[in-house]
């Protein structure tokens, strides 16, 4: 049928890899553009990446510690850890979702490996989140929380989360080309997902069945992993590791598979 299919698998992968390397500068440019456009004309610019999570944390701390009374030790740090990770997930999923349809003019005119678009969106959210980590450190210093050596491993859960987000972004980007409804549907799903993740409440507060269900929420595991390293100074047990590795790899593979399957006809639908 077509030439790509005729070639042996091996050389197909080789072509994919050379493309990947060749188009890395494009990812860099697209990420740079995202960041530039995001903060263009705002007076504080990149400072907002730090300031925003801090202000969010302050608002939520006031609301939850005075109105609902939680007895989590160092609540501000607990909150900002969960929030930072979930915001990254939310942002990369939502930006990834529209990445193909927004770049339609380009896709119609130049050959570019199309996964570059969702990928670059996830990477730019990741960069924004890296700035926000400064806010986490700031909160640690302000609340005089103990600093454990395990904090040096903070990148491990973030890496898992990054892979997970790439998978989500690829899946959503591809499906949204065919069904624009997903844009609207997914914003509701993320809202529900946020409440279903222990960001501002402890998991112990949930009834037993909900605690069991929580084992199937990948976001819970990533956030739990991160909090263990940053707040409690311990490395989580094998269950958390397995859940993190498994969920991120499954999501990534699913995303790649769906994207690969659907990308050929993008041009007819965007």
């Amino acid at each position: 049928m077509d030439n790509a299919a005729k070639q042996p698998k091996n050389s197909q992968y080789k072509v994919m890899m050379t493309h990947f390397v060749q188009y890395m500068p494009l990812v860099r440019e697209l990420v740079g553009r995202d960041l530039k456009v995001k903060y263009r004309r705002s007076f504080l610019g990149y400072v907002w990446s730090v300031l925003n999570p801090l202000l969010m944390m302050i608002v939520q701390t006031i609301i939850f510690s005075y109105m609902f009374r939680t007895d989590i030790p160092n609540y501000p740090l607990y909150l900002i850890c969960g929030n930072t990770l979930f915001t990254f997930f939310n942002e990369s999923a939502n930006m990834g979702l529209t990445s193909i349809i927004y770049n339609a003019p380009l896709i119609k005119k130049v050959y570019i490996p199309k996964y570059i678009f969702p990928l670059s969106r996830v990477v730019s959210s990741f960069v924004t989140m890296s700035f926000s980590l400064a806010a986490v450190v700031l909160v640690m210093l302000l609340t005089r929380s103990p600093i454990y050596w395990t904090i040096l491993l903070f990148w491990i859960p973030l890496l898992f989360l990054l892979l997970f987000c790439c998978g989500i972004a690829l899946t959503l980007a591809a499906l949204t080309v065919y069904f624009r409804d997903i844009q609207h549907l997914f914003s509701v799903i993320t809202l529900g997902w946020m409440y279903a993740t222990p960001i501002f409440y402890p998991i112990e507060q949930l009834p037993d069945f909900a605690q069991t269900l929580m084992k199937f929420n990948p976001m819970y595991h990533y956030i739990n992993f991160f909090r263990n390293l940053v707040m409690h100074g311990n490395i989580p047990g094998p269950n958390t590791w397995i859940a993190c590795i498994f969920s991120s790899l499954v999501m990534l593979c699913l995303g790649l598979w769906v994207f690969r399957k659907l990308q050929r006809n993008f041009i007819l639908y965007v």
Binding site: M1, D2, N3, K6, Q22, Y23, M24, P25, L26, R28, E29, L30, R33, K36, V37, R40, P105, L106, I107, K108, K109, V110, Y111, I112, F179, R180, D181, I182, R264, I267, L268
Partner: protein, 253 residues
């Protein structure tokens, strides 16, 4: 060495391109499900290209001519790798510089300087490479005074100039040009033609779509005539162009 001994750069092999003109386009999940259940998901098939084959050898300048909607642009998109043919295959050996639309991929909020790097990356070049060619691009586009102005404030002619300067600064094996020389003032058009001619002299292969017979005859040595998606003529540019013009004059549909 005659052209026939040169290696084949573009090999278009029985390419057909089918579009489904959906009688009722479905854009939502619900609609698709409902219509699929009702068995109403029918399409009008439309062939933009029907079993087209040709080869282009290194250093050739080939024009695609034909009326509006005859499949010229679709053919270029297949060659550029933007579209996958429904049947048949198309192989291109070597690098492609696509000029299907100049300035595709410009971000209107960014300045010309930033867009040069962005567009360069879109064409697959890294920052270092663009640094080396930056001066030439600015020089050719005659936009030195506007280099730090956001592109949204540019006139369409300025955008085209910038796009052309970036796309032709690269040394590609194959240049795919779709009707992009129609814009820009007379002087700039001459400059563009001059540049294309120089690239041809350096061994670049050209695949060219234009409605201007004059440009086609000046630039190309061979022409392929597409008519409703079917190849109707292929040969020396003067012969095919004359044949095409006569057919049009006879008022053929």
């Amino acid at each position: 060495m005659s052209v026939n001994e040169q290696p084949v750069i573009v090999d278009v092999n029985h390419v057909s391109m089918r579009f489904n003109l959906a009688t009722e386009k479905t854009e939502t999940l619900k609609e698709t499900l409902v219509k699929r259940l009702q068995g109403k998901l029918t399409f009008n098939e439309f062939y933009a290209l029907k079993d087209v084959s040709f080869q282009v050898r290194k250093g050739e300048a080939v024009a695609l001519i034909g009326r509006n909607g005859s499949g010229k642009s679709t053919m270029l998109k297949v060659v550029a790798g933007v579209m996958y043919p429904s049947q048949g295959g198309c192989t291109v050996s070597g690098s492609i510089a696509p000029m299907i639309e100049l300035g595709a991929g410009f971000d209107m909020d960014l300045t010309a300087r930033e867009n040069i790097y962005l567009n360069g990356a879109v064409l697959g070049h890294d920052r270092e490479y663009m640094d080396q060619h930056f001066e030439n691009i600015v020089e050719f586009s005659e936009l030195r005074d506007f280099i730090d102005v956001p592109v949204k404030n540019f006139s369409s002619g300025m955008v085209t100039r910038l796009g052309f300067a970036i796309a032709t600064e690269v040394t590609a094996d194959l240049l795919v040009v779709d009707e992009v020389l129609a814009v820009g003032d007379f002087m700039f058009q001459l400059k563009c033609l001059d540049r294309l001619n120089r690239m041809l002299a350096n061994g670049t292969t050209l695949l060219f779509v234009s409605h201007s017979s004059e440009q086609v005859r000046k630039l190309c040595s061979r022409a392929i005539w597409l008519d409703h998606g079917v190849k109707r003529g292929d040969g020396p540019v003067d012969e095919v162009c004359t044949e095409y013009e006569e057919a049009m004059r006879r008022g053929e549909q």
